[in-house]
């Protein structure tokens, strides 16, 4: 029984690989399209998000501190969501992508200001998406100084003419040079894999049905799981090669290196590829012909591009859109790739994202198997 499973599975895999090898155009597109998209998107994407989650460490609680913070909030770019107890906590929030900024007000801030000395505010920014960080940081300095100027009345009026009394110290983390490409390229990995992997398997069963080979296949003793896994395995290999190509091209053209563990990235990638293939296979069992399967794949693809945090910063989207985004595998994979490639995130940092992908894989596989019919009924 076990041996039979492997032999029949092997039969399907060999057949798929042979067919794939003969379909030169599709084969070429699977490698040509990603490179084209990489070049296209790598140079083209732009955005200006607002209300980004921000953590505040206010070691100094005063009227002036409150003025400064409300000035930052009033820029519309920052939304204070966390008040971490320590620098480590703040760093962790930044690392996991929970917040975009950490604003630190040192304990001597008010004192120095009143003495007429220069006071510092520290802003740590997650600059993996430089666009998400650029505008908020540019707006922060002027906003603080304007607000303070309004506040300096009575005995403090003398400080008013010193308009630049507050010094903003900005640390752009993970992507110090603010290169958009650093953010876009890993994101592209998610988008390209979604596009090709879902589509390839979405056509897998419908193609057999359209060409009339399904009836023949069903008349032979092969089980649904064998057909499904057999059709998916060759594409896992292809997806892996795609990933390698994208990473090498990114390295050569855009100078994007992998900060974190390559092994961890590989595990995440393999999981994501498999989820997409299973989704494609499910589409294949739900649709009647190849055209429908294509349309269904696009239905999957567009939100993966628009709502996964690839096109627009995830935290900048309305809440309902974020919920849709959370349901997409691309969103979770995006966080895995950006985390590992740019921030050097470890397993603990991305464990929830991996778990989400795994849950999706199980759910989709069960649906696919239950939808696959062994008869023509």
């Amino acid at each position: 029984m076990g041996g039979g499973f492997l032999r029949r599975l092997g039969a399907i895999i060999i057949k798929e690989v042979l067919q794939l090898r003969r379909d030169r155009l599709t084969f070429a597109m699977m490698f040509g399209v990603p490179i084209m998209q990489l070049l296209l998107f790598g140079y083209a994407i732009d955005a200006d998000p607002h209300r980004l989650p921000t953590a505040v460490i206010a070691a100094d609680q005063s009227q002036i501190t409150r003025t400064v913070l409300s000035a930052l909030a009033n820029t519309g770019y920052m939304r204070f969501t966390h008040q971490p107890a320590s620098d480590e906590d703040a760093n962790r929030l930044l690392q996991q992508g929970e917040v975009q900024f950490v604003v630190t007000i040192p304990s001597d801030f008010t004192r120095r200001l009143i003495r007429g000395e220069r006071a510092q505010i520290l802003i740590d920014a997650d600059a993996t998406d430089p666009l998400a960080a650029a505008n908020p940081l540019a707006a922060a300095g002027p906003a603080i100084n304007q607000a303070l100027a309004r506040d300096f009345v009575g005995p403090l009026a003398g400080l008013r003419h010193k308009a630049d009394s507050v010094e903003l110290v900005v640390q752009r983390r993970y992507n110090p040079e603010g290169k958009s490409r650093l953010n876009v390229v890993p994101g592209l990995l998610a988008v390209i894999l979604t596009m090709t992997m879902v589509m390839m398997t979405a056509l897998a069963v419908t193609r057999e049905r359209e060409r009339g080979t399904m009836e023949n296949l069903l008349a032979m003793p092969v089980r649904p799981i064998e057909v499904m896994v057999g059709k998916i395995v060759p594409y896992i290999a292809i997806g892996s090669v795609q990933v390698a190509v994208i990473l090498i091209v990114s390295r050569l053209l855009f100078d994007v290196a992998i900060e974190g563990s390559v092994a961890l990235l590989s595990v995440g990638t393999a999981l994501f590829i498999t989820v997409n293939l299973a989704i494609g296979f499910t589409i294949s069992t739900l649709t009647q012909n190849q055209l429908q399967a294509m349309q269904a794949s696009f239905f999957m693809m567009l939100p993966s591009i628009l709502l996964s945090g690839f096109m627009f910063p995830f935290r900048g989207m309305p809440v309902w859109a974020q919920w849709i985004g959370e349901a997409l595998p691309a969103t979770h994979f995006m966080r895995v790739v950006r985390g590992v490639m740019l921030k050097g995130a470890g397993f603990d940092d991305i464990a929830t994202e991996l778990a989400a992908l795994l849950a999706m894989l199980l759910l989709v596989s069960i649906l696919a198997i239950s939808r696959y019919r062994v008869t023509l009924d």
Binding site: A219, P221, L376
Partner: protein, 308 residues
């Protein structure tokens, strides 16, 4: 007596339409049973129910001793089903297709089996060609070879020779007889009368119902049809005049001769009487052909069919 196929009262409905209606059939082991009937009469649906591709809505039975519904997998392993449309992969080579099928059936000595199959087919030198590049006749022979690779005990062939030239058809039927001689039971659907005559027995189905059953002679004898052949100059032109005459179920020109038949001999004679006066045309009583009978049966079934 062991029956390879023994099904009774099979019913298949699609929505409100009954495609197969209480169909029963028993075929002895090692026999070639021709399965005839007009287009849309339920032949394909019946074959699919027998090989486990469709679940019957009513009735049941056994196939190779296995229950039609519950032991579907066992039936699949011992049955070769050749679909009406070419069911192999056109983008795989001849050898790759056979190997694929062999692996799915978990065959041992796969290479030797495929070699032997290619040799039997006479395709050894062309084994590296894509199956899609084969002509219609060769495609069908390849499909047949793929069906028997796992040495099934039952072959279900759905119009295997549609659109195939006479020479290739003959070769195909020689192979079918060779397999039957080895003890394989064959149920083959066809529209060709010459093929029907090459079968050990015939089952005629129309609008989902079994209309006639037996050997070619038995069916001819049981039909009770009378037939005449007219020959001579202009005989073939009489077909148009006789076709709708009372007592005539079919009148057809074959070259210069005319073939008429009807269910009642006396009535048929009355119908042709006016034309017998022509001294140039010679009338002879003849055996009705299978085609006569099937066209007659089709007319009958059509009259009975609800809503027809």
């Amino acid at each position: 007596m062991t029956f390879a196929i023994d099904v009774h009262d099979l019913v298949k409905r699609y929505g409100t339409r009954t495609v197969v209606d209480r169909f029963s059939l028993a075929v002895e082991q090692g026999r070639i049973c021709g399965f005839l009937g007009p287009n849309g009469s339920g032949k394909t649906t019946t074959l699919r129910m027998i090989c486990g591709l469709l679940t019957p809505d009513g009735g049941g039975g056994t196939c190779l001793g296995h229950d039609l519904v519950r032991e579907r997998e066992a039936i699949k392993r011992q049955t070769g089903y050749m679909t009406q449309r070419f069911g192999l992969y056109e983008d795989l080579t001849i050898r790759e297709n056979l190997e694929f099928v062999g692996r799915l059936y978990e065959l041992d000595r796969l290479k030797a089996r495929v070699d032997r199959s290619l040799e039997r087919l006479g395709l050894t030198t062309r084994q590296g060609q894509l199956a899609g590049a084969l002509s219609g006749g060769w495609k069908q022979r390849l499909a047949l070879a793929a069906c028997v690779l796992h040495e099934p005990r039952l072959l279900l062939l759905d119009e295997p020779t549609a659109g195939v030239d006479p020479k290739a058809r003959r070769a195909f039927w020689d192979e079918i007889h060779a397999y039957a001689a080895e003890g394989i039971t064959v149920l083959v659907s066809t529209h060709y009368m010459d093929e029907a005559e090459r079968c050990h027995e015939i089952a005629y189905i129309a609008y989902g119902e079994l209309m006639a059953r037996g050997t070619a002679e038995e069916i001819v004898r049981a039909s009770g049809l009378a037939a005449f052949v007219a020959s001579g100059p202009g005989a073939d032109h009489l077909a148009v005049k006789l076709r709708d005459a009372p007592g005539v179920s079919a009148a057809a020109a074959f070259g210069a001769t005319l073939h008429v038949c009807g269910p009642d001999r006396a009535e048929l004679e009355r119908a042709i009487a006016p034309f017998r006066a022509d001294p140039n045309i010679v009338w002879q009583e003849a055996e009705p052909t299978l085609e006569d009978i099937f066209i007659h049966l089709m007319g009958q079934a059509h009259d009975n069919a609800p809503g027809a």
